[in-house]
Symmetry: C2
Subunit: 714 residues, 2 copies
């Protein structure tokens, strides 16, 4: 669907959703439990200091506030209008907002594109009414919150008697219900909220807009997001990169990973889910933590709240239970943390403190801690100091419920926290609420489950790596310019034309000659060099090899001439009526690693590079990596390293090392070509691409380029 | 270490640990917080009805109970003795227990094998004192509990003011601290405990003993286990299989999966961890749910507590939030549940009830539920009835905190629970404790996190499959008897002898002839059939192919004679001083799928069959499956199906289907040979084993058998 409207895309225009000086509520209700009543109640609970302007043609006051018949009656400016009227009345309400000069409107009402044909029509009308005149949030959304200034432009039923705690987390959610659920989860975890916004049907403002706004907000340290699809991938990626530069972690839950899930997304919000593997690759590339569950989303968010990002993956483990320590070590290895052992000398010092202790790492203080809770401080300090770990995790099992013992221990833990202000510290224990608070005040994140503590630690270490790896000098990839060859939408390229296109794009393609006689064949073979491969060419013969239409390893001129005759005979025998174009002669290239390299189109991210080892690797193991075009060398390298079969390029099984640099170059060149011609190319399939031994380059043996269908006249 | 003692292994002899009529406490303390004081306190708290016999030479009464100077002074029988004296005094204390005729003893004391050389000596003394005379639990353990009769033979500090709830879960843990932690987790989750036992250093009673006892206990429905190593694999497997036959799920957490973890296990309890991949394979084979975290252990345990094991993987999802429903669908696909859509007609009926609803599956009742909580009952009933699902999961987000609304809804949910007594039902929601209890009483398991609800559902469905797949007719695998070939420990087998051994074992091995002249070569080739492969044989030439010492595809007698000469020349040229044994002639076998098949020894489970696709599959992808020898056909088949590369046997990429039945037969035959000769064979490596097209069998091209070193004289 090509939309014929436009909204501004500057972050500044989103200000009125979070910092309005006045809020009008169209459809304001006296019932504080109704959709049109809730925001009035919340705004008053939150002591919002701007003007609250209930619009209700039938009442002089609503919930104790003077009401207006119509938004046009309001004196002074309206920054934000909340629209809580039936769907059919929404376009007129928005028109009135535009006429009043309101800067932004939130449409709570449902019954639009998510609700069938009539709803779709209404949504189009709404869009046309608003486009370019007002920023629009929704419809079918739960609105926004900005706790710092009491803005509760929402009817979220998750707020009952308690407003969210103020804090430095901001959350953007496409789904209103999940967004509201996350608000409660944040409250449960003690995470304070700064901004909160839900986008619903996203006729204008979408998740990318909110992310852009939040990552640059001075009062936001951590950004959380829940989404189903991506509408504006370039801007979302831009927001991810700004977040990294600002050293703000982004933790994201995207649903619709599965086939059933993706189908449900499509029917639920009419968003394109795109390929999940591609989305995954994009998030990895931009260092966003993708949570697979709500628990994980909030485990990582909670860990971020301590603002201590470990400077390395080296982690020290302390435990009161041998089994618990081993469990943490297992998970640490799985999470790719480094459970390096303590230096021998430091171990000896620990043994002097506590003779029964395990001192390697995990450090096991044993049940002795029950008799000697004061031992934890020197042991933990020694672990962190002498082990050189950048994070420290302790498993205290159920001992955290024993208040008296814990009071002794927490005094020591406070010292540990103070002595290690830059290290991420966590305790896994069952606790009482009071003990939990004490641990947290001492600077320790508290997790009941030790595995979850370990996984969250690993996530923080990755964020640190991400912040440190920002390369401000990274130039935009250089485009090689439009291809001079004849590429247009709707025009099918033959194999031969595909090869020409690839060669023009800068990819080494094996030379081949189409010949019509024995002598031409011999000439061509001499030209490309022996031995050669010869193939029959006929659009009427699909599976050449089945009829013996391919002859390999033809050694000299005589053999070439003979092979020409054999191929023609076989073709005539197998398909007497076939039109024969001739025979292709190309050099026989031996050795090298067979790869496939291709371009496909993702519904969200456009041209995507796919690379994998050829044959069974792709077909049986699905061992492929994706990356958004265009790629730079660094991105291409990361893709190759992600392949399970990468070892084969490195020369596994006594093979020569393959020319990986040439492969990277080919990936970059192809990705650049695909990005430059993104409006024409549908897919490219280079299979196989032979990666020859180091220094010998790569060569494409086959290529097929398909183009997009012609544009329909509007 | 060969132990020269023996203990009985009958389950009945474990009775006194859980059902003693009298309990003596050696080292009984007046201080109820001390190790020797806690059991007296707990036994009295639990109103244990048997005799409690404190043994203390210095006091007439201990914690209000009449005390004895010495266990010999006790009148009448002592069923169970608790020994809580310093490690050095333990052997004498146990001797006194034996003399008194006590049936069982629990050693709380630490300071044995886990604590260095002197501790090891003490442990040996303890073992020798007890062997054959008394059942021994520990040392270095937390003892046992049997809630039904008030037996608290433990000093677990996890019991403070509250005893564990009585119930139908039994738990065996090697680690005392993890066992105690699990006791608290069970209490937190409302799971009642029947028996609880920790095994510590396991000089006699081990985890396998407790599992055997628990799976046959009439008051136990679900068995949980935490362990670090396996000492008695055969009996543990026997217990798993009895559990299955008794339709009792076993949920197990084994730590020491990782390299660091396994090293920590070795130093912590001196248990052999064995290979984790092998342990994993054994658990899968015997349908034990292996939890990867404590959360998962208790998620599955809690789900089991409802006793509703879904009869199929078909699951119906209901949600108040589109996003939440999609999230559940994603996880369901990952967990291999079947989120099949509702029939069209039933969807239409649902639409009639709630026009905005999503009705496919997930069924989305939308936020409308807030206004119309009574809608949940008919929607949920229709889902379960018309969709034919055997489990039903609902996501109510934070709505479960709204008590008033929930009271309406729970009335409906009670009806749903009653109408579907055999289906597993779960609700994912944030709730108040009161609402949670109401949901549970209505028959719904309650999980805060929707992903965890889905994973637990999948675990229950697998348990149902496991219970149903018990094959009572399964005979013991038939052993083919000892090999008649010359196999003995410490004797190295050459390649040639290895082949003979494999042929004797019943495995098809490619024939080969060692020849010393051109004419012998031609004769041999005629005998095995053309074309042939010829290889130089010399112990002085390691890498035959590098000197051109292998010639493939030799077509006829003349070529054979010539090749013989060529090989001899090349060998002489490359290594003039080499001793040449001759030339091997074997048939050239083309086609087929290259596999590797082998035997290795696991420290715990003994001979293990390993199978995988050859070459890069093994080396790069580590795509191999393990199974304990001997295997039956069914087990062998499950192994093959577990291979990612299995599709290649099925004829991927246009290849012919491979002779999988012959491969299965080869696996069974080899496994049988390895099991029969487990006392001699160290490893077998058949690489490659060619699996020929269907009907053509398999053939081993190479084999290498290694034997165990000779036994040292004691």
């Amino acid at each position: 669907m090509e939309l014929n409207h436009s909204f501004p895309t500057t972050a500044a225009s989103l200000g009125p959703f979070f910092h309005p000086r006045s809020i009008a509520v169209l459809g304001a209700s006296s019932d504080p439990a109704k959709i049109g009543g809730r925001p009035l109640r919340y705004l008053q609970m939150a002591r919002y200091e701007g003007r609250i302007l209930p619009i209700n043609p039938e009442r002089a006051t609503v919930q104790g506030l003077p009401a207006y018949r119509d938004i046009s009656n309001v004196e002074g400016e309206v920054d934000l209008a909340i629209v809580a009227v039936p769907a059919k009345a929404v376009p007129n309400a928005v028109r009135a907002c535009v006429e009043k000069g309101a800067k932004a409107a939130i449409i709570f009402s449902a019954g639009f594109a998510e609700a069938g044909v009539e709803g779709e029509r209404l949504q189009t009308e709404l869009t046309n009414t608003a486009a370019g005149k007002i920023r629009l949030l929704g419809p079918n959304c739960l609105g926004t919150i900005s706790t710092g200034n009491g803005v509760y432009a929402t009817f979220a039923s998750s707020i009952v008697d308690e407003l969210p705690t103020k804090g430095r987390f901001s959350l953007a959610s496409q789904s209103g219900a999940l967004g509201a659920h996350c608000m409660v989860l944040a409250l449960d975890r003690g995470l304070g909220i700064n901004m909160w916004g839900t986008t619903g049907n996203q006729v204008d403002v979408d998740i990318s807009d909110f992310l852009e706004y939040m990552v640059d907000d001075a009062d936001t340290d951590v950004v959380l997001a829940c989404l189903e699809g991506v509408r504006n991938p370039q801007r979302m990626i831009g927001a991810f990169e700004r977040a990294r530069r600002n050293r703000k972690p982004v933790v994201l839950l995207k649903v619709g990973r599965s086939e059933v899930g993706a189908a449900a997304v499509a029917s639920h919000t009419a968003s394109l889910a795109g390929s999940d593997a591609v989305f995954d690759a994009v998030l990895r590339e931009h260092h966003v933590h993708r949570a697979r569950s709500l628990d994980e989303l909030f485990d990582v968010a909670y860990a971020c709240s301590f603002g201590r990002y470990p400077k390395s993956r080296r982690t020290g483990l302390l435990t009161v239970s041998g089994g618990g320590g081993i469990l943490m070590a297992d998970v640490a290895e799985e999470a790719r943390l480094d459970v390096a052992p303590m230096p021998e000398a430091a171990q000896a010092e620990m043994k002097a403190l506590l003779p029964f202790a395990g001192t390697r790492n995990p450090v096991d203080v044993t049940a002795q801690v029950i008799n000697q809770p004061e031992i934890v401080e020197p042991m933990f300090n020694s672990l962190l100091r002498d082990g050189g770990y950048d994070s420290g995790l302790a498993f205290f099992a159920y001992v955290g419920r024993a208040e008296a013992m814990m009071n002794t221990m927490t005094a020591g833990l406070e010292n540990v926290g103070r002595a290690n202000p830059e290290k991420f510290l966590a305790i896994s224990a069952l606790t009482t609420p009071a003990i939990r608070t004490k641990f947290e005040k001492a600077g320790f994140a508290v997790f009941e489950d030790p595995s979850r503590a370990v996984f969250a630690t690993a996530a923080l270490a990755r964020f640190h790596e991400s912040f440190e790896s920002v390369d401000n000098s990274a130039a935009e990839p250089v485009h090689s310019g439009r291809s001079e060859i004849d590429l247009e939408r709707g025009r099918t390229l033959s194999e031969h034309e595909s090869r020409i296109a690839m060669r023009a794009a800068g990819l080494p393609v094996v030379p081949e000659h189409l010949v019509g006689s024995s002598s031409e064949a011999a000439n061509a073979a001499r030209q490309v060099g022996f031995p050669v491969v010869m193939k029959i060419v006929s659009r009427d013969i699909q599976h050449k090899s089945e009829i013996g239409g391919v002859i390999l390893d033809v050694a000299d001129e005589n053999a070439t001439a003979a092979a020409f005759g054999t191929l023609m005979e076989r073709a005539r025998a197998a398909a007497p009526a076939a039109h024969i174009d001739g025979v292709l002669v190309s050099p026989m290239i031996k050795g090298g690693v067979e790869m496939i390299l291709g371009i496909s189109r993702d519904a969200v991210f456009g041209p995507i590079v796919m690379v994998g080892l050829g044959g069974i690797f792709v077909e049986v193991f699905k061992d492929v990596a994706f990356g958004k075009a265009p790629l730079d060398i660094r991105q291409a390298r990361a893709m190759l390293r992600g392949l399970k079969g990468h070892a084969l390029l490195k020369g596994a099984r006594g093979r020569p090392r393959a020319d990986e640099e040439a492969l990277l170059q080919a990936m970059v060149v192809l990705s650049d070509f695909a990005a430059t011609h993104a409006d024409i190319i549908d897919s490219i399939d280079i299979n196989p691409l032979l990666v020859l031994p180091e220094g010998s380059g790569v060569v494409a043996l086959d290529a097929l380029v398909t183009t997009l269908p012609q544009r329909q006249a509007q």
